[in-house]
């Protein structure tokens, strides 16, 4: 489904990613974990077309997207739930969701998609006409996920969905990720919360200082000492 090969990226002269290879198969949940500043967000941004790679390819179902303009990535079935939510704060919940379905091929199924999002997060139906900027952190996260789902993605990219959320709210978010996965959407989950993300993922990658330093079944990574060392710096 999603195949990343040899991706290099930088911010100005600051190298962020070194030759990253990563794969998300059909119907998989894949986690990318690692300490702060390891390049996880950069990787997600490259896949979503928010940040241009210096080298390498990002393929969706065999088509290389790396040379496309940023706004064309979503046409190929990629949608992002960005770090820090990044909703359109001065627009209503409803408007935020509908903008998720902006791309032409998603528009006809807008009503279905909206119904699905409301089923997943009934809270959002109640908050429909409220400004997104006035919601609580957990509700904002729901809108961010809902907005991405409105684009009818084949692969959903989630960047630090746990950031700043209370544990009980987090449970709801992870339940929703499970449900989304069950409906047939592949998920690439980037998290600092190692425990939570590895519990839900089938495979995982450990990213350290811009390189993949471990990959394999989620359970294996969870049990490894290397993981603990890297993330806690011990």
């Amino acid at each position: 489904m999603l195949e990343v090969r040899g991706v290099e990226a930088a911010y100005g002269e600051a190298r962020a990613l070194h030759s990253i290879d990563l794969r998300v198969g059909d119907g998989e949940i894949v986690a990318v974990v690692g300490p702060n500043g390891a390049g996880k967000s950069t990787l997600v941004n490259v896949i979503a077309g928010l940040h241009r790679a210096l080298a390498g390819s990002v393929e969706m179902a065999g088509t290389d997207l790396a040379s496309l303009a940023g706004h064309r990535f979503c046409d190929h079935g990629i949608a992002i739930v960005p770090e820090g939510r990044r909703l359109f704060p001065r627009m209503t919940v409803r408007e935020n969701l509908e903008l998720g379905a902006y791309r032409r091929s998603a528009r006809p199924q807008r009503a279905d998609a909206l119904a699905w999002v409301h089923e997943l997060f009934p809270r959002l139906a109640e908050r429909s006409s409220q400004l997104a900027g006035s919601l609580s952190g957990g509700e904002q996260q729901m809108v961010a996920i809902g907005r991405a789902l409105m684009a009818r993605p084949k692969v959903l990219l989630l960047d630090e969905p746990s950031l700043g959320l209370a544990p009980i709210v987090l449970d709801g978010v992870f339940d929703a990720i499970g449900a989304i996965h069950a409906s047939g959407v592949s998920v690439l989950l980037v998290e600092q919360n190692v425990d939570r993300s590895l519990a839900i993922a089938s495979r995982a990658y450990l990213l350290t200082e811009g390189r993949v330093t471990m990959e394999g079944p989620a359970g294996e990574l969870l049990a490894s000492d290397e993981m603990r060392r890297t993330v806690l710096g011990l």
Partner: protein
């Protein structure tokens, strides 16, 4: 340097002031005096604008307000009250200066003043003054005021000669002032404001004062020249002084000439006035504004640095392109004489100055001439840097003191509904090296901003060296002995690496001259291993070096306590090791350090104590190994992995 410069201005003034008296001897037409008077008027106006807007980057659209105040002061007092003109001249300057200071006092107090807002603010002022002049019969009342030409004192001759000498005096005074400001502490402060204002303030530069000095001088010069303008036009109306043409001309001149030097406005004025004059005399005045507009639009896009910067890079070719056509045109006797030759030569010189040269050609020429490039474009690889000196650093002034150097109590910072910090209390003792860590978004950078005085807490208090900082501005907090670096390096882009550091020394707790500051700056650059890059521009060094520059600059303020915000982000392992070594040495010299870093292995190695923030709260603090075993910390980083 300054003395020689002033001597130069004095000699130039004397030579130019002799012109009217030589007229009989050489028999040149009075038109030349009129032409030069116009140049002097615009030189003064452009210089007035440049001292504030060019040097500090706060663009003003309100130049007409200064001209208007000067012109109406003279017009009312001379035209209606029969004052002698010369008595009104200083008054016009003074009133304009007061107006400018008033605007500055209002605008520069705003913490969130952006360039566009200042530009619009100044755009509104001439409208208000014009409206006042129109409704108040004591000023204008709507009919305009005639300004009778004063009698020239005996040796000067006629009115044109008098106007020429007065304009020359004001213009030369303005240029000398701009020169002095440029080379003064205020000038350096203004350039630092232009490049990165909040960084400047954080390094201890009193930015508000510098801006007030600049706007006051700008007002004084603008008002003096405005007063002369009344004399020059002879009939003052609201339209003639409060219109938008004056700011337009002034801005075009400065953008064309270059905004970072006193010379820029002069060059711009000479070129634009000559161009205007020739176009008018050739019957093309209908195109002069089209040309001015095109110059402005094209320069902002293509060559925003202006002529002065180009002159520095290509002095000889430009000079040749000026002299050769001038002589050639003179020999063939082109056009109407001097002004036509001048126009031709200026155009040739400007073309040579601005036409882009292919990079390959420039490089081969430079290689042959062997002159170092101004910007130091091709930075050599970092490995060629000389090894760090290993001798211990000199101790900072307050080394050896003990007890708390930095304390904060119950600090809360809210952005809208978001609580970035939620009641943080922290005490840091002299000699500590504290690692501040926490997940993304836990409030580390916000805390650094509040501790350094750049941000104000919503509630709670901060004390540096026992003094509460609530009532202090950021540069005063800096002078208590606190310095910070930025996660993304923010050097002063228009200055060399050495001068970046010298700024911090010069405006540090022990003020000193730029020359003395440069010597000390070199020592600080050695400490971080950047001595070999001292004369490069920040754009010519790599990220790692820019981060070291951040450290050198912070160190140069001689802080008691240094806050390092992710100073190692984006570096490769070798660079990280080197930077860690630098941090160690700074700490060993007696500076207390707080380092924010997400590479926990680095923090664990360096820190004597670790403080963990999570969701804006203090989660844990203590000795590194113990904190990293704290279940709450492990959970914040790993989730429940710890229990598994």
């Amino acid at each position: 340097m300054i003395r020689r410069g002033l001597l130069g201005f004095g000699l130039a003034y004397l030579a130019l002031a002799a012109l009217p008296f030589l007229r009989d001897a050489f028999g040149f037409p009075v038109f030349y005096l009129v032409f030069l008077s116009t140049i002097w008027f615009w030189t003064a106006q452009a210089t007035s604008w440049n001292i504030l807007s060019g040097y500090s980057g706060y663009f003003s659209f309100g130049q007409a307000a200064l001209v208007g105040v000067g012109a109406y002061t003279t017009a009312v007092l001379v035209g209606r009250q029969d004052w002698p003109f010369l008595a009104t001249l200083p008054l016009g300057g003074l009133l304009a200066a007061l107006l400018a200071l008033g605007i500055g006092a209002l605008a520069f107090r705003l913490r969130s003043l952006r360039g566009e807002i200042f530009a619009l603010l100044t755009l509104a002022v001439p409208f208000i003054l014009g409206s006042l002049a129109r409704i108040l019969p004591a000023i204008d009342g709507g009919q305009g005021i005639t300004v009778p030409a004063p009698d020239a004192p005996d040796p000067i001759g006629g009115f044109q000669e008098l106007l020429y000498l007065l304009s020359l005096t004001v213009a030369m005074g303005a240029l000398a002032t701009a020169f002095l400001v440029q080379h003064s502490r205020t000038g350096w402060a203004l350039f630092a404001i232009h490049d990165a204002e909040d960084v400047a303030e954080g390094l201890g530069i009193p930015t508000f004062r510098a801006k007030m000095v600049a706007i006051g001088l700008s007002g004084l010069i603008g008002g003096l020249a405005g007063s002369l303008f009344a004399l020059q036009i002879g009939f003052v109306t609201v339209e003639s002084v409060f219109g938008l043409t004056i700011p337009l001309f002034v801005i075009v001149m400065c953008v064309l000439g270059g905004r970072t030097s006193w010379l820029g406005p002069l060059l711009g004025a000479v070129i634009i006035v000559t161009l205007q004059d020739r176009l008018a005399s050739a019957g093309f005045q209908g195109w002069s504004l089209v040309i001015l507009g095109s110059i402005l639009a094209a320069l902002v896009v293509l060559a925003p640095d202006g002529l002065v910067a180009r002159l520095r890079a290509r002095a000889a070719p430009v000079a040749a392109a000026f002299v050769v056509p001038f002589v050639a045109l003179a020999i063939v006797g082109f056009g109407d004489g001097l002004v036509d030759w001048l126009a031709g030569a200026l155009i040739a010189a400007a073309i040579v100055a601005f036409v882009p040269v292919p990079a390959s050609l420039a490089r081969s020429v430079r290689a042959r001439v062997g002159r170092p490039t101004d910007r130091g474009t091709a930075a050599e690889p970092a490995t060629q840097r000389p090894p760090l000196t290993t001798e211990p650093l000199p101790a900072p002034p307050d080394a050896g003191s003990s007890g708390p150097v930095l304390e904060c109590a119950d600090v809360v910072k809210r952005y809208g509904g978001l609580r970035a910090l939620d009641g943080v209390s922290l005490r840091i003792d002299a000699g500590e090296l504290v690692g501040l860590v926490g997940p993304n978004g836990s409030g580390k950078t916000t805390l650094i901003g509040i501790l350094s005085g750049a941000l104000r807490p919503t509630s709670g208090s901060v004390q540096v060296a026992g003094r509460p900082t609530a009532a202090l501005s950021a540069h005063e907090v800096a002078h208590l002995g606190i310095a910070r670096t930025y996660q993304i390096p923010r050097p002063f882009g228009s200055m060399t690496v050495r001068d970046n550091v010298a700024m911090a020394v010069m405006f540090g707790r022990r003020a000193m001259s730029i020359e003395a500051a440069r010597d000390r700056a070199d020592r600080h650059l050695e400490v971080v291993g950047l001595a070999g890059r001292a004369s490069h521009r920040p754009s010519g060094i790599n990220l790692h070096e820019r981060q070291l520059l951040e450290m050198a600059r912070a160190l140069a303020t001689e802080p008691r306590i240094l806050l390092l915000d992710e100073a190692l982000a984006g570096l490769n392992p070798a660079e990280i090791d080197q930077a860690v070594e630098v941090v160690r040495r700074i700490h060993a010299s007696g500076v207390t350090i707080v380092i924010v870093e997400h590479l926990l292995r680095v923090v664990n190695q360096l820190a004597t104590r670790i403080v963990v923030l999570d969701q804006g709260r203090l989660l844990a603090a203590g000795e590194p190994a113990a904190v990293m075993r704290d279940p709450a910390v492990v959970r914040a980083y790993l989730g429940r992995l710890a229990d598994a």
